[in-house]
Symmetry: C2
Subunit: 254 residues, 2 copies
């Protein structure tokens, strides 16, 4: 396997980074790449050789739902599947932890989006001491093998880590508390997890480094500015699809 480009540590990336882009430019970027995406999605569906699996991972309030709404909600629901990973239920807990993940891997011809993913099983569990370091490391290796298997089977992985600052999270949580239209998004765990911020950053950084492979590299998205985040994700997704040499299949009847 090729070595991927080196992934910076999380603390080396400014969550408020926007390059030299301003908000208006970012909105043009989103509009542009979203329309390319609509076309590419149709082509992916017709071609049927590849599936695309988008993984959205990040701290609470980092913008996973917002990304879905702004970047992906324009896609044709035929050929699009979103799966949100919650705390495992009884049936899921009786199975190996990748069971529910593999079940929801999209079929070829479609785009699947994981809102949270198997990375919760190596980060949350580890931060809370439900698994020790040896088991965490074993899981990281299992995940590398699993993802490599998927890519070898023509499931293209796009793993986005939405990187926000602790301050930005504070403001977003405060907005949820203040604003009646956002209050429903607030969960008890948003507040109880916040004191573990540093442990989460460390555990995420280790998980990202260990699973950043040539086949399935991580893309760390500075996400304090939602407009910049949306532009980056729409662009990466469109470019990944463009790189697939998708083509309209021949007519089924000659």
């Amino acid at each position: 396997m090729d070595k991927p480009e080196i992934l910076p540590r999380l603390d080396q990336i400014d969550p408020a980074f926007t390059g030299d882009m301003d908000k208006a430019e970012a909105q043009d970027c989103l509009t542009d790449f979203r329309s390319r995406l609509l076309h590419l999605h149709e082509l992916l569906y017709a071609d049927r050789r590849y599936a695309v699996l988008v993984i959205l991972q990040g701290m609470d309030t980092s913008g996973k739902d917002g990304t879905l709404r702004h970047v992906l909600s324009g896609l044709n629901p035929v050929g699009t599947r979103v799966f949100s990973f919650k705390t495992p239920n009884d049936e899921e807990r009786a199975h190996d932890y990748l069971w529910r993940v593999h079940r929801n891997v999209p079929p070829r011809g479609s785009i699947g989006v994981f809102n949270r993913s198997h990375y919760e099983d190596v980060v949350i569990t580890y931060v809370h001491g439900q698994i020790d370091e040896a088991e965490r490391n074993q899981r990281l290796e299992q995940i590398r093998n699993f993802e490599s298997y998927l890519v070898q089977n023509r499931i293209v992985l796009l793993k986005f880590f939405l990187h926000i600052s602790r301050e930005e999270q504070g403001e977003r949580l405060a907005a949820r508390i203040r604003n009646p239209e956002k209050m429903w998004k607030l969960s008890a765990s948003d507040l109880s997890e916040r004191p573990h911020w540093d442990k989460y950053q460390l555990a995420y950084n280790e998980a990202l480094q260990a699973t950043h492979t040539a086949d399935a590299p991580w893309i760390i998205v500075p996400a304090d500015r939602k407009w910049y985040r949306n532009c980056v994700i729409a662009r990466q997704l469109a470019l990944a699809l463009e790189s697939l040499d998708l083509r309209w299949p021949d007519a089924p009847v000659p």
Copy 2:
């Protein structure tokens, strides 16, 4: 990973082997181990820490259905799941080949039986030239990783290869043709695949050798004598369960 014991080549094992056992002894063996199995299955179900996955693989007429009927049909259906792998349907074909396999991996506390399995995806496909040697070898590696992951997640694998001779297959096919009560079992592929016997033996031997690991070793069962086959499988299954240190859990309410 420990090295497993060396697996003999298929052509080194006599399919009619029965050791020094006669039919009456084999039936006692089956009765004995089946009753131990009933008890162990209940314990497995109560304990909930392990799942057992039995894989039955072999040439057509090698006795997969007969094994299910004679060895496993006494088990409590609660906590037992049989999955028979057929030619993949449209939905399954749109997914990676282990998708339908992983979906059907049993939850902890239960015994799952695969009548055929992912080994069809490295044997049939290879014999018929649908995948080349490079892809076959890549799949064998993927299967090793997948099985190793399952075992690490407390899913005990018991992989049985039911080994019959070409002559015995000929007789069993003839019986299906002659006997109105067996005719329904005959499929067109039973006859069209028979000329490929040698290619299948070779492809099976390579697949078995490549996936015989310490975690998930193969058990080659001489299967020309059904009574011997049943005794071996019942015994291996009971011994595997006995080695698991299963225990009755504490009362949920103190």
